[in-house]
């Protein structure tokens, strides 16, 4: 196909500004078009590349959409049972204290079935990083209601909207774990705009830097979209997320250097 506005003369290595990192395996990601998982995967791998710690990092993949993360990230990965990633990461970090360990979990994994493991790992103050992708829905299984689903939000198991009288309130697990003395850095970010992506990358970088200090869990929540589960186009879902998710899950640092800032 003819590329009318292409400038092949500019495409030289010294002019290169941005390319997909080689730490991501050169294969198509299994996520839906427009899903935030891909961006978080890439930012995570860029942080490991910049810190040059890819060979010393062990990731724990969850159950959920990102269960195949070990296929995409070209680092050592272990698969945990549903919700048990923080327990497995605890074992890895205690056996190999010099390795960088992270878990990558969704809201169904971390905030529903894995609530106990998450809270206890955070309370013990283990020295690893938890990356929590919150899209307010069980994406992989077909858009069922999750603990993080907003009041009034439609899902396949709450087709008339989440009724808080029957189904209870959304679980703000990030605020919850920020109260625990074992967490050192807790932040909430998003990946829908270039500025937000840069902030998320900075937060991830800080989370991995803090593993050297051994002062407790660094926890990065990323509010993301699930356009398939929300039945929207990717761009619509990003707008919907800004209008509805962000008031309920406000972005920004919640705990920095062990001190609550919000």
């Amino acid at each position: 196909m003819e590329e009318k506005f292409a400038h092949p003369e500019l495409r030289t290595p010294e002019n290169l500004v941005y390319k997909r990192t080689d730490l991501l395996v050169d294969c198509p990601l299994s996520y839906c078009p427009g899903c935030g998982h891909g961006v978080v995967h890439r930012m995570l791998m860029e942080v490991l590349e910049e810190k040059d710690i890819a060979s010393k990092t062990i990731g724990v993949n969850p159950v959920g959409c990102s269960v195949l993360a070990y296929d995409f990230m070209n680092i050592d990965m272990l698969g945990a049972a549903h919700g048990r990633a923080p327990a497995l990461a605890t074992a890895i970090k205690r056996l190999w204290p010099d390795r960088y360990v992270f878990t990558y979990q969704g809201d169904g994994d971390l905030a529903a079935i894995g609530t106990a493991e998450t809270i206890h790992a955070c309370n013990r103050g283990e020295n690893f990083t938890i990356i929590f992708i919150n899209n307010g829905i069980y994406g992989m299984t077909g858009g069922q209601m999750a603990p993080t689903t907003l009041p009034g939000m439609r899902s396949s198991t709450s087709p008339y909207g989440r009724d808080i009288d029957i189904m209870g309130h959304p679980l703000k697990i990030t605020e919850l774990i920020a109260q625990l003395p074992g967490t050192y850095y807790v932040t909430r970010q998003s990946v829908q705009t270039p500025a937000a992506v840069r902030k998320t990358k900075k937060a991830l970088r800080k989370a991995f830097d803090l593993q050297d200090e051994k002062k407790g869990i660094s926890f990065v929540e990323v509010v993301s979209n699930c356009n398939s589960g929300w039945k929207m186009t990717p761009v619509q879902s990003n707008t919907w997320m800004e209008e509805n998710m962000f008031p309920a899950y406000p972005l920004g640092d919640i705990k920095v250097n062990g001190e609550l800032v919000k």
């Binding site: 292409a6 500019l10 078009p33």
Partner: protein, 76 residues
């Protein structure tokens, strides 16, 4: 006069046509193609010469299909 000029290379077969890059581009340099790739997705393509190589599109691309180049060129 020196001018910053950018160019993007889209990995057409990996593009899933989500259009997130269109919303991120400050100069509306990107549009979806009329053709489709082998998976049936309309893919992103550069449609004018206003690109400055800011790499916004590449940052928000969930599949990382965009490679960005940037150079200072002299124009008469």
């Amino acid at each position: 006069m020196a001018k910053i000029k950018g160019d993007i290379v889209v990995n057409i077969e990996r593009c899933k046509g989500c259009e997130v890059c269109l919303a991120a581009c400050p100069f509306t340099c990107i549009a979806m193609s009329e053709e489709v790739n082998s998976k049936g997705y309309h893919f992103a393509m550069k449609v004018n010469d206003d690109c400055t190589g800011c790499s916004n599109c590449a940052l928000v691309c969930p599949d990382g299909v965009i490679t960005v180049y940037r150079a200072k060129v002299t124009v008469a």
